[in-house]
Structures are given as structure tokens and as C-alpha cells.
Amino acid sequence: MPHITDQDIKIILHSDTERAFRMIVETYGSKLYWHIRRMVITHDDADDALQNTFINAWRKLSSFRSDSSLFTWLYSIATNEALTLIRKREKENKVPLDDIENLFALSPEGSTYFDGDEVSVKLQNAILKLPDKQRTVFNMKYFDDMSYEQMSEVLGTSVGALKASYHHAVKKIEKFLEYD
């Protein structure tokens, strides 16, 4: 399959919206899934949030500015969907979901789609203990290797604040791993 650019998709959007949107899903589906999955942990929740992301994106397609980046626009919707789902789960369970074992225990799928060793569990637990926004910033920088400028566009936060947030997140995780 040839590499498809944002420009290609934007051109097709004018003539065949459905085809262009399918291209969007094919191009960004996987990236968005992993971004959401690291936030919500379980596959079922990630799948739900991803479907909602695309349904919302479809509905908001007319308001998408052609000079904007599809990637940051979709990332922004996906981040909101992931955070909404996390808050919903916390409200439903009335306990802070800051431990991966608890999360698996509360989910019907359990740990079926998790294959991490002790170190991975420790790191995930350290990340889960971060406040929502700090967790988002950490995941975007550490795992997705996004630039602060891109993150700023997605989260609507200044580059300085994001740098500070990432620095605090790293310190907290290091401290957690050191003492746990």
C-alpha cells in the first residue's frame, strides 16, 4: 500500500468523504489505538474509546480546518475520549484506578491482552499513579515520541508547561520505581 499523506486525504475528502475517512482510519487507527490503550490499559476500553474517537471525528469533519494537521486533530479527540472513559470508570467503581491488577480485576477481559513482566507492571503502576494530564503528557512524550510543539497543539497547553509536566512525571516515576 503506497504511503498516504494528509494532503492526499484532504483532496479526496472534497470528492468522496467516506473513502477519505476510511483512509484516515487506516492511516491513524493503529497510532490512535496505542495512544488510547496506554491511557485506559484494557483492550475493550481502548476499542470503545477508539470507536468514539472516529465517530466524533466523522461528525466534526465539516469543522476540520484544511490547514490543520489531521494527526494532531485526531490525537486531540482521542485524548479527550480516553480521559472521558477514565473518569467514567473511576466514577463507576468509586475507587482510584491506579493499580493495573485492580483494573484487570474490574474488567471482563482481565489480563488476557497483557503480557508484561514484573518491570512492565511496575512501570504501568507508576504511570497510573500520575494525575490524568501528567500521565497523558508522559505517554505522548515517552512512548509516542511527540515533539512538545505537537503536544502543545493537541493539548492546548504551552510548551513550557508541558516540559515542566513531563519533568515532574519522570521524577515521580523514578521515585516510585526506586522505592517500590
Binding site: 476510511r22 487507527g29 496505542w34 490503550r37 483492550h43 491482552y113 508484561g116 504501568q124 512512548f143 516515576i173
Partner: protein, 164 residues
């Protein structure tokens, strides 16, 4: 040193992904997503149609304009009631203020009389007639009266003038 180990640890697991997905998940994602979109479109349009259809049939009528009208009427009634109450309170308040001031004056007068009576009794003049009391209260005692009184008490006139 320990921190460096921790960071090394993190860097090692940065690229190792502990999460798994069901087999073939990404292969079917686009199809599944497009179906979900179509489904949500159908749902939202059928919701719109059912509301319109019901409204035409006269069974379910959109309540929004009626609610807005009811809210406007309720608001108007509330404002009117409040204004009427305010006006009433104002006039009643004025009357009350007048009454209160009358009462206050009366009370002050009564206290004055009471105090004066007691003062007079303390000065050792029991048995003063009511009329005298009234006169005392009503009339002002002049300097001449005092002089008359003092001269009757055989006090030297020079002393009296000196004192006054």
C-alpha cells in the same frame, strides 16, 4: 547510579510493548469503524424521524417552545409579585416607621416623666399634688423664682447673686 539504573530500565522497556490485541484487530478496524459510523448515523436520523413523525401525529409534541413560554410567564409573574410586595412593604414600612417613631417618642416621654417623678421623690418632697407635678413638668423654673425661693429661705441676697 541508582537513578541511572532506573532510567536504563525505563529505556529498555520503552520499546517493549506489554499490551496485546486480539488477532486481526487492526485488519478489520476500518470496516468495523465505518459500520459503527453508519450505525450511529442511522440511529441519530431515526431519532430525528421518530420525533418529527410523532409530532405530526400529534402524540409527542416538542416541549421546548412551550417550556420557554411557561418559563417566560412564570418569570413575569414572579417579577410582578415581587414588585407588588416591594411596593406594599414600602408603604407598610413607612406606616410602621411612623408608628415606631410615635411609640418611641411616647416611650421616651414616659421614661422622662418616670425619671422626673422619681427624682422629685428622692429630693424628699413627698405628697406633691398631681397638679403641682404637672405644673413643674410643664413650666420652666425661672431665675427669678429661684431668687424668690432662696430669699424666702433667708439666704443673703449677695450670696445668691454670687452663686447665680
Amino acid at each position: 547510579m541508582h537513578q541511572r539504573n532506573v532510567m536504563k530500565l525505563n529505556n529498555e522497556i520503552r520499546n517493549s510493548n506489554p499490551f496485546r490485541v486480539p488477532e486481526g484487530y487492526f485488519d478489520t478496524l476500518a470496516e468495523k469503524t465505518m459500520s459503527a459510523i453508519r450505525e450511529s448515523e442511522t440511529e441519530s436520523s431515526s431519532e430525528d424521524n421518530s420525533v418529527t413523525g410523532d409530532a405530526k401525529a400529534g402524540r409527542k409534541i416538542s416541549l421546548r417552545p412551550y417550556l420557554a413560554l411557561a418559563a417566560a410567564i412564570a418569570g413575569f409573574a414572579l417579577v410582578t409579585t415581587l414588585m407588588v410586595r416591594l411596593v406594599r412593604n414600602d408603604s407598610a414600612g413607612t406606616q410602621q416607621t411612623e408608628e415606631y417613631s410615635l411609640f418611641a417618642d411616647l416611650a421616651a416621654e414616659e421614661i422622662d416623666i418616670y425619671m422626673l417623678e422619681n427624682e422629685l421623690r428622692k429630693t424628699g418632697q413627698p405628697g406633691l399634688s398631681e397638679s403641682f407635678e404637672e405644673e413643674t413638668l410643664e413650666q420652666e423654673i425661672s431665675t427669678e423664682d429661684i431668687i424668690d425661693y432662696l430669699t424666702r429661705e433667708d439666704i443673703d441676697i449677695n450670696d445668691i447673686y454670687e452663686l447665680l
